[in-house]
Amino acid sequence: MGAHHGPAKGLTRWLFTTNHKDIGTMYLWFSFAMFLLGGSFAMIIRAELFQPGLQIVQPEFFNQMTTMHGLVMVFGAIMPAFVGLANWMIPLMIGAPDMALPRMNNWSFWILPPTFLLLASTLLMDGGGPNFGWTFYAPLSTTYAPPSVTFFIFAVHAMGISSIMGSINIIATVVNMRAPGMTYMKMPMFVWTWLITAFLLVAVMPVLAGAVTMMLMDIHFGTSFFSAAGGGDPVLFQHVFWFFGHPEVYIIILPAFGVVSEVIPTFSRKPLFGYDSMVYATSSIAFLSFIVWAHHMYTVGMPIAGELFFMYATMLIAVPTAAKVFNWVTTMFKGSITLETPMLFAIAKVFLFTVGGFSGLMLAIAPADFQYHDSYFVVAHFHYTMVAGAIFALSSAVYYWIPKWTGKMYNETMGKTHFWISFIGFNLTFFPQHFVGLAGMPRRIPDYNLMFADFNMMSSIGAFIYGSSQLLFLFNIVRTITHGKPVTDAKVWEGGTTLEWTVPTPAPYHTFTTPPEVK
């Protein structure tokens, strides 16, 4: 192979690259860095909540931590991590030589580091960083916001541009660059879930941009979109935000569904059960995500007709989601299962995500939500779906594909240790939060009554355990790259059936320059 086929050398390789594997790698490392940053914010939160009373931080800073933790984890860690996986795996899975729009791909990544640098720098600004929660409800985020809110708005715009470009690229790639013979209904589930996710992103990121633009106008140009005193409506903000925000949570979870739909068949050595119904279920979830947003707003005082509509629509989501869980379980049924680290994370994801789904169903019941809303019960619920649902799937994906990426095998013992510590730490952190929430502890408070003390201490200990287990993950990855046992089989896993297991291991810099024939 001639030298011009390999990557450029030095820094410019990464700065100017248009190669989907390089860009995927950068997305993954960037998201891991953000995961550690957002995680360290969470550690500060849990350290303050370790005991009642104010010990470590003041309430102002505590609010900045909860806000930044949410923003960094959602927009900096989980979303870019899945985009990284999409970059690496979609071309490999559909037999394409690269993404359809490689230069835009470079740009959509390189927007992110300065954006998050800007966002993180608000913490050092006069008046502190964003302190109004990651949902930034007006007017706390407008009239009453610290001056750094303008930089926050700029950062959200930039993230949105990056996401929209990334999704357009994914849509263009999947629609145009599938290998001959790969019809839509033959695409791997991971590609399907990302295609649907990309459409969701293109649909809702502009809505978020609209929300922050209205904020910007209210703050600097004298409009009153969200100020009742000027004829505006603070509730409008919530409608616009959640019209983005609810699809957003499916943007996070659908690619995670895709990952486990690849991992479970591989390690069960049995094809995914109900492939067609999985595609339909994912599409129905995506569709429903647009008409359930106000279940985040049961207590704002909507008319009862609206309340009932959103309750019924929300409960309906349980149907396609349950179908997906049943399909995964049936895939395992009568398979031939081995429990390597990716499979452990995938099974735990299905298990714990379903627990989060159950509490989601409880939250959907509007009258009961009058007790759950804005309590720690909600915090427990969405961490079961976001951490166990999305981050466990991401860990699974990294262990699953890292041999293909690097040509080295990770250390299985260390992987399993990482899994069990994560599993125990995660549950110790978030399960007791159901209890304190039901007992009446509101979310986003820096201090609490003694009745909540014991479970909060458990929760904090769990968080420290979960947090430190991620350092083991980092160590395992670095160790794999530097000292991992070389793998040369194209098919790393016995049960792998998708196209990425047909290219050599490690995947060469350019793959599928001649498209494969799919039967």
Binding site: L54, T299, L438
Partner: protein
């Protein structure tokens, strides 16, 4: 049908429930509510219905979970490669797919019926016997008893917990962060309607025992209602992030017998009349400073510091406003400073307290102006604008 199904479920689940009850209050009776693991049914009929609904959905989830996870973990154990080396190859069955789409749908239907009924009941705010306007402020609640035949009674309810307890220099009491200087008082067995709004940012008024949570939104008035069936003291907190002291604006509701309520209301009305009378009084500097100190502690110290050293707000000690002309000081205190966290206290404190607190600030923390304001000065200042 729904009740019967619930009873059956309860029976089937009794071992699980027994295990769960270990975690609830009973087993740790001596620590009281410390290990509370479940929602309170509270002291209202609606609260009990919500609790029942919550438990019913919970049981359904537990049963579904046992079935699904049962199959899942059975597969993990029974179909391991070493025991089951030849995997089956089936991967489709339309009938099964249809069944497991329809069954969850039917389960949802039996949840929807009681949920809808309860929701309709919660929304029925008609025929209330008493209206209380609740206004959320950064970071306190104002309660105004609407009196169709005379003056409304209104007061602010501030956090009572001592700063030293929060800073861990004093031992925390059992009502730590859940105690206020003036609780809201309601009569037992009467339908009370809450009209909930806010003055600045969003807040949410939540008392678990009353099963009431309503967002307080500036410019909008939301309605909620309760009918308490037991007397007692019930505590809650603000549930919507509202800034720095979001965790420090609790709610305390005293549910009392009607005669006691009437006596309390009469006392409040008398106190309001007294303030009116005090408006005309000429206070001495010492009287004003003594009164102002209390007002300062409840209304100013959270931002300006217990000794006027400042915090979120500017320092009062040596401040150019507190040591400048009286008019400028009144301007800031009465109208607030727009674009900052300094609210307009003209709408929050009465003239007597305003005069007292301004006088106190000018003659404390090392400020030694020697001048003072009378309530009537504040009254004139407000009128003059």
């Amino acid at each position: 049908m729904y009740l019967q199904a619930r009873r059956l479920l309860k029976l089937a689940l009794s071992p699980v429930l027994m295990l769960l009850s270990l975690f609830s209050t009973g087993a740790w009776a001596e620590t009281g509510a410390r290990w509370q693991t479940n929602m309170t049914p509270g002291i209202t009929e609606v609260g009990h219905k919500i609790y029942d609904l919550h438990m019913w959905v919970f049981y359904v989830c537990v049963v579904t979970g046992i079935l699904v996870f049962g199959v899942m973990f059975y597969s993990v154990f029974a179909y391991r490669k070493d025991r089951h080396p030849e995997p089956a190859t089936f991967h489709e069955n339309t009938k099964v797919e249809i069944v497991w789409t329809i069954v969850p749908f039917l389960i949802l239907l039996i949840m929807v019926v009681p949920a809808t009924k309860t929701l309709i009941e919660i929304y029925d705010t008609d025929d209330a016997e008493l209206d209380i306007l609740i206004t959320g402020y950064q970071w306190k609640w104002k309660y105004e008893y609407i009196n169709p035949t005379g003056d409304n009674v209104s007061f602010f309810s501030n956090l009572l917990t001592d700063g030293a307890e929060i800073a861990n220099t004093e031992e925390k009491g059992s009502n730590y962060l859940l105690e206020v200087d003036e609780p809201v008082v309601i009569p037992v067995n009467k339908k009370v309607r809450f009209l909930v709004t806010a003055n600045d940012v969003l807040h949410a008024w939540w008392v678990p025992a009353l099963a009431v949570k309503r967002d307080a939104i500036p410019g909008f008035i939301n309605e909620a209602w309760t009918k308490a069936t037991e007397t007692g003291v019930y505590r809650g907190q603000c549930a919507e992030l509202c800034g720095r002291n979001h965790g420090f604006m609790p709610i305390v509701v005293n549910v009392v017998e009607e005669p006691e309520y009437n006596a309390w209301l009469a006392e409040k009305q008398a106190a309001a009349a007294e303030i009116k009378a005090l408006m005309a009084k000429d206070f001495s500097l010492d009287e004003l400073v003594a009164r102002g100190k209390n007002v300062y502690t409840s209304s100013c110290s959270a931002c300006h510091g217990a000794n006027g050293e400042g915090g979120v707000g500017k320092a009062i000690a040596g401040s150019p406003i507190a040591t400048g002309p009286l008019k400028g000081h009144m301007e800031v205190a009465v109208h607030g400073v727009s674009g900052t966290a300094m609210p307009a206290f003209g709408s929050q404190l009465n003239e007597v307290d305003l005069a007292a607190v301004i006088t106190y600030q000018r003659n404390s923390f090392g400020n030694n102006m020697g001048d003072m304001l009378q309530p009537v000065d504040i009254y004139k200042f407000k009128k003059g604008q």
